[in-house]
């Protein structure tokens, strides 16, 4: 009897761990896609999946929805349990961490080169897709740091709109002039690295050395970038954290938004009286704009029993058809051919040349699995303190670098 029990338990465990997946009753191969729930794209996603299944009757896409904030936790837990989904979101930001679990798609991308058409992506995107000569994912859309401006507030103040040749000085001077009792010249992005890291780059500094083995936020260049960031508040053209309208640039009370996210385009477009446009970020003293580029992409699990079917789906999600659907939902076209169609030409922002200018100098975040943890958990608290307490940029930079270096030393020494 005891032996029988053990046999049952073993069978159950073995079936749970199996990598073999049989076709369903209709003879279809099931591809599991772990999808981060997004109200803005849910309907589009449903339609794209339906379209794909219609075109590929032998494949069924099982969409497993997870709230966006729990996505990484769910994904890693599934990977650890040996039940990794076939397809999952894995932009360049998480690539360093996810690489051990991602299937190298270079062979498939080479085989289907014409269909994949990597050359159709913007050159900056191509570089990220083939970061170390290998292809681990195909992207759907991207974010690039831009300067957003409220045209009405500029017109009211008879200020000329920002241009691609603006420097930090032009930006700060204009922001100061535009600041009045009700209006702020610009925003300050808090809570993540979006703005401060851009400014550190613009000043010629960086968060890490090129090998990502040492934090370098305490160099004079980096401190200069942090000082410019803090001075927006000190000089009175940007509100301190928590002050100013809680809806930010969308409130219509900010003349500019430094380094805003393209994911907000759809929201801005829905605000009736918000007349806005974009420009590439101003150049810092180093000549770099310092803005970030990041991709949202789909990759395939290394252990997927349905690699070929999953690849078909990933290709479809990066095809012109899918990118068009993304553009219609307010996202930036990642394929140049779709961008040239100007499907959203009647919608803001009109100054689309700014995207190309921004892309020419956009910088990816460091390819390190520790980047997010260091930037958010170790550096960000010191940046917060610099903005809200009487701590100088040099002090904040020193404390942040010390914390990051201590972490790097400890993790190299075994702590984890």
């Amino acid at each position: 009897m005891r032996l029988l029990n053990w046999a049952i338990v073993s069978l159950v465990l073995a079936s749970g761990c199996s990598h073999h997946r049989t076709a369903d009753a209709n003879g279809r191969h099931t591809v599991i896609w772990l999808y981060p729930i997004d109200v803005g794209t849910q309907e589009m996603t449903k339609q794209l999946v339906a379209k794909f299944e219609k075109e590929n009757p032998d494949i069924h896409i099982e969409v497993q929805s997870v709230p966006g904030s729990q996505y990484q936790t769910k994904l890693k837990t599934l990977v650890a349990a040996g039940e990794a989904p076939d397809v999952f979101v894995c932009g360049d930001v998480y690539l360093a961490y996810l690489k051990p679990f991602l299937s190298d798609l270079t062979d498939l991308a080479t085989r289907d080169a014409k269909e994949v058409n990597i050359e159709d992506y913007y050159p900056a995107v191509q570089k990220l897709v083939k970061r170390d000569g290998h292809i681990y994912f195909l992207p759907q859309w991207f974010n690039v740091s831009l300067l957003y401006y409220n045209k009405k507030l500029f017109d009211d103040a008879k200020e000329p709109y920002p241009t691609g040749s603006w420097t930090w000085e032009d930006y700060a001077r204009t922001a100061k002039r535009l600041t009045s009792k009700e209006i702020w010249g610009s925003t300050v992005t808090t809570g993540w690295w979006g703005e401060w890291l851009t400014l550190v780059h613009g000043a010629g500094g960086d968060l890490f050395n090129s090998e990502v083995t040492k934090a370098t936020l305490d160099t004079p260049e980096a401190v200069k970038g942090l000082s410019f960031y803090r001075d927006a508040i000190k000089q009175g053209f940007a509100p301190s954290p928590g002050n100013g309208p809680s809806t930010g640039f969308a409130s219509g009370k900010f003349a500019m938004d430094y380094g805003g996210h393209v994911g907000l385009w759809a929201t801005y477009r829905q605000i009736p009286n918000l007349d806005w446009d974009i420009e590439a970020l101003p150049k810092g003293p180093s000549g770099r704009r310092g803005g970030e580029i990041s991709l949202t992409a789909l990759g395939i699990s290394k252990s997927s029993p349905e690699r070929e079917s999953a690849w078909k789906f990933v290709k479809f999600m990066s095809s012109q058809e899918s990118i068009r659907a993304h553009v219609d939902r307010g996202y930036l076209a990642i394929r140049r051919s779709v961008a040239a169609e100007k499907r959203d030409k009647d919608l803001a922002p009109k100054n689309r040349g700014a995207v190309e200018r921004a892309l020419e100098s956009a910088e990816p975040i460091p390819s390190s699995k520790d980047f997010i943890e260091i930037a958010l958990d170790l550096v960000q608290p010191e940046i917060d303190r610099m903005l809200t307490e009487n701590i100088s940029p040099a002090q904040a930079a020193k404390r942040a670098s010390d914390a990051a270096n201590s972490f790097l030393r400890a993790t190299n020494g075994g702590a984890k």
């Binding site: 890693k76 928590g242 608290p381 075994g414």
Partner: protein
């Protein structure tokens, strides 16, 4: 009869505890095999981690602020609800209701109340000419905001106090009243000593709850844009720090070590509380 309970204890409590003790000496990251790293995790936490001692301090300050205030509020409301007033049952239900709200829901609600520019509290303060602080974004005010928020959920302690008050010796109270003792004297000399075991129970439970506080700070940070534990780690409770290490960054070794340190801290504080209780908790059997 006790076999299933023992099996449950071994499988679901003792087993995971021992595994977490083992993991605290490894570099386990969920996706690869754990390697033994000796005391490296404990050394990093105690000697180098910039967030460990901050989260200990934040949790201690929260406990010191929220537990006495919460107990005081619970006792006051319990005493009011112990009076012979109309609709007593309805009032008791109403005052208990906030406790039933999930902490994440009340976290979102309170994040709106504390919102610096458009929030309810600062708007009310502005009506009386006071400029409210930047509750959610200021490292100095974020924790007091959470302490204020915690007082709202005193329902559990209130019910226990109410039960304690109803057990308070009526005959002694009446005798004291006949002897001319006023309400304060009756409370101090008769009610309070009888209530001290209940106060002690609520204190212990409140302290343990405060040291394990998590969800209110988690939802508060997420709702107000300051980030989890933000701003500037001002709301980084110990368990929130542990969670971030475990489930955001998958440092299961560090997180397990933190769990065992917390276990030791709670054990020590509870032991000290029991030792000190002999000085102020009334023990009917002993007297």
């Amino acid at each position: 009869m006790i076999a299933p309970a023992t099996l449950g204890l071994l499988l679901f409590t003792l087993g995971p505890m021992l595994i977490s003790l083992y993991l605290s000496f490894t570099d386990y990251d969920v996706v690869s095999k754990p390697n033994f790293v000796g005391l490296a995790n404990y050394h990093y936490l105690l000697m180098a981690d910039p967030s460990f001692w901050v989260s200990v301090k934040v949790t201690a300050m929260y406990a010191v602020g929220s537990v006495p205030l919460g107990l005081f509020a619970a006792l006051m409301v319990a005493m009011l609800l112990n009076l012979d007033i109309p609709f007593k049952g309805a009032f008791r239900t109403l005052y208990y209701l906030p406790t039933l709200l999930p902490a994440t829901v009340s976290g979102v609600l309170w994040a709106w109340i504390f919102q610096p520019t458009d929030g309810l509290l600062n708007r009310m303060l502005a009506q009386v000419g006071v400029t409210g602080p930047s509750w959610t974004q200021s490292p100095s005010w974020a924790l007091p905001a959470l302490v204020i928020m915690s007082i709202w959920s005193y329902g559990g302690s209130m019910v226990i106090f109410l039960a304690g008050l109803q057990e308070s010796p009526k005959a002694l109270n009446e005798a004291a009243a006949l002897d001319g003792a006023n309400a304060w004297h009756r409370f101090r000399i008769v009610t309070w000593p009888a209530l001290t075991p209940v106060v002690f129970f609520n204190l212990i439970m409140g302290l343990i709850g405060a040291m394990k506080a998590f969800d209110q700070a988690f939802s508060f940070g997420q709702s107000n844009g300051a980030g989890i534990g933000g701003p500037a780690r001002a709301t980084l409770f110990y368990v929130l720090n542990l969670y971030t290490k475990a489930f955001e960054h998958f440092h299961m070794g560090l997180a397990s070590a933190m769990a065992w340190i917390l276990f030791a801290i709670i054990g020590l504080i509870t032991f000290l509380n029991f030792r000190l209780s002999k000085r102020w908790v009334y023990d009917e059997a002993a007297s």
